[in-house]
């Protein structure tokens, strides 16, 4: 009895100190690069959150780019566009998609669904891929067709030779592609199953092909924030899979990456890189999302630890044997920026400062106040490695007071002219960023 009362008393005392507000949040710049400052984790009664209301763009309203560049809508009126992909002939594919309906296992799931809906995350996806043809390359497509319809929450797209691979949430599909084609009617050929199932918490399946096209890499997110749905449902997840497109055979290339929403090959070194969304609810500056090269066979910590051996006590029983093997990612982007897309910039026609690095679309998260992300950044590379802090490229997705979002960036790509394309799943726009006419390059 005394023990219970003591325990209850200490619980109350602990909770009282936790709810003390006004805690200073360190600037995101303390969490850029290889050695981010990692504060001690906190458990909250209610995690500090901020959910700007999704309003969409007003007439003539656009995101903001630095001097020397301009941004215009390539096309509008999409159904939750999340990924853009440029085909070699200049046609642009826009993946219009959203996740399957999330099951409600706890009262929290219901509340969370309502909160995220305010921020525009619940809008139904088109479950299709739309093709835009802009023959002149001036940002004014003369043709817009439904390229592939009736997909199951597609996300990643990659063309290898005459095969177009689409990563639906439950399977990898192959479509035959002829250059110039504007519609594919046949059903895709099943290449391999991808982890989905009833929960399918992080549903996006990012996709990239090795430079020689012999292997495909699929980023598969975890089935929870931090194993609250049990460890059993995490089998095959929080991993990057390597798939042999000829046979459909696959293996886990790397593990412990909570939600690898973007995968891409660095053109200079030919190495695989990924952007990864780290865990929530242990503080506004934990855990930094990251950009990393992905080493064959490596374990990056999730769920047991983060950034090497920083243990997450929410995961029990712990696995010290796995924690010992965990390696730290290469480059932190700072916390809760939610990087959902990446594109290496080699070949861009943007100003010279952007020609050797990677663009990252930061969607932003509910789990941080003040907001972080909600922009497209550029991470400069030298010799195949990040060589400086991320720089803002496209901003202005959030209103100055932080109360509303006109748009949120997701997938990024370079089109045939080297312009930067951005899928915006709140504004339902694909933006195109180019050098300003007459600007010195």
């Amino acid at each position: 009895m005394n023990r219970i009362l003591l325990g209850g008393g200490s619980a109350l005392a602990a909770l009282a100190t936790l709810s003390a507000c006004g805690q200073k949040v360190a600037d995101p710049s303390t969490q850029y690069g290889a050695n981010p400052v990692l504060p001690a984790p906190h458990e909250y009664l209610l995690p500090p959150m901020e959910v700007p209301k999704a309003t969409g763009w007003g007439k003539d309203q656009t995101p903001v780019v630095p001097a020397g560049m301009q941004v215009r809508a390539l096309a509008t009126g999409f159904k939750h566009p999340r990924m853009v992909y440029a085909l070699p002939n200049g046609d642009v594919l826009v993946v219009e998609t959203n996740g399957p309906k999330a099951p409600i296992y706890r009262p929290k799931d219901y509340v969370e669904g309502k909160v995220k809906a305010l921020a525009g995350s619940a809008a139904p996806g088109g479950n299709r891929i739309t093709l835009l043809r802009d023959t002149k390359g001036e940002g004014a497509p003369e043709l817009r067709t439904v390229f592939i319809d009736h997909l199951n929450s597609p996300f990643g797209v990659v063309l290898v030779g005459n095969s177009l691979y689409v990563a639906a949430t439950n399977e990898l599909l192959r479509f035959p592609y002829t250059p110039g084609e504007t519609h594919i009617a046949e059903k895709g050929v099943h290449v391999t199953d991808l982890p989905a199932g009833v929960i399918n918490h992080h549903w996006t399946k990012s996709l990239a092909a090795s430079p020689d096209g012999s292997k495909l890499y699929v980023g598969v997110g975890s089935n929870s924030n931090i194993t609250e749905n049990g460890i059993a449902v995490e089998a095959d997840r929080a991993a990057i899979w390597e798939v042999d497109p000829a046979t459909g055979l696959k293996r886990q290339f790397a593990k412990g990456l909570r939600n690898p929403t973007g995968v891409a090959f660095e053109p200079q070194t030919g190495k695989l890189w990924a952007v990864v969304n780290e865990r929530d609810e242990i503080g506004p500056n934990l855990v930094p999302d990251y950009l990393t090269s992905v080493k064959d066979g490596a374990f990056y910590g999730w769920p047991y630890s983060y950034f090497g051996q920083h243990i997450d006590v929410r995961v029990q029983p712990q696995r010290p044997d796995l924690v010992a093997k965990a390696i730290a990612p290469d480059y932190a982007l700072s916390s809760h920026v939610a990087p959902l897309g990446m594109a290496f910039s080699q070949g861009t026609s943007l100003p010279a400062a952007y020609r050797s690095g990677v663009f990252v679309g930061e969607h932003g998260s509910w789990d941080r106040s003040p907001l972080n992300g909600y922009k497209v950044v550029y991470v400069p590379f030298r010799d195949g490695r990040p060589s400086g802090p991320p720089q803002d490229v496209v901003t202005g997705f959030v209103s100055p007071d932080g109360k509303s979002t006109m748009g949120r960036p997701v997938g990024v790509a370079l089109d045939r002219t080297g312009a930067l394309l951005i899928a915006d799943d709140v504004g339902n726009v694909v933006w195109r960023v180019t050098s300003a006419p007459g600007a010195t390059k």
Partner: protein, 148 residues
């Protein structure tokens, strides 16, 4: 304990809601304890639904109490017991937030400590029944409203 000399009160509504609310909140302590022993996440899910349902019934019990007061179905309110039940409900509300954390932190340690504390409070109060009539504060071996 001194007995009051009131005639038996007409039936009131609130004990019918306090009792099941208390049962659910006490059950959450049991499922929390099982979680602490097994680390199986489903026991934590049981706990949060039990606490949520317990809180809904507790809120309804509050409304029923207001109704009982308005309809003069309650003589003198037992303020001490009222305070006890209110504290148990507030602690449970806090516990619902604790249980909305993810994985182990949803239960251990504060979640289990709070549900244990709530259980102790409810068992002590429940020993004398679930009514807030001051005149019913007699020993349970003597039915309320009777005089020796």
């Amino acid at each position: 304990m001194a007995e009051t000399a009131h005639a038996p009160s007409p039936p009131s509504l609130h004990p019918l809601l306090i009792a099941p609310a208390a049962v659910l909140l006490i059950a959450a302590c049991a499922t929390d304890f099982i979680y602490s022993q097994t680390l199986l996440f489903q026991w934590d899910n049981f706990s949060i639904w039990l606490i949520t349902a317990g809180l809904v019934l507790a809120a309804l019990a509050g409304l029923a109490l207001l109704l009982d007061v308005a309809r003069r179905r309650i003589g003198t309110l037992a303020w001490g017991r009222f305070a006890g039940f209110t504290i148990a409900a507030l602690l449970s509300l806090m516990n619902a937030f604790v249980h909305s954390r993810d994985a182990y932190a949803a239960v251990m340690p504060e979640g289990l400590q709070l549900s244990a504390l709530v259980t102790v409070i409810l068992l002590i109060l429940g020993w004398r029944g679930w009514s807030l009539h001051a005149e019913r504060l007699s020993h349970p071996s003597r039915p309320a409203g009777t005089r020796s």
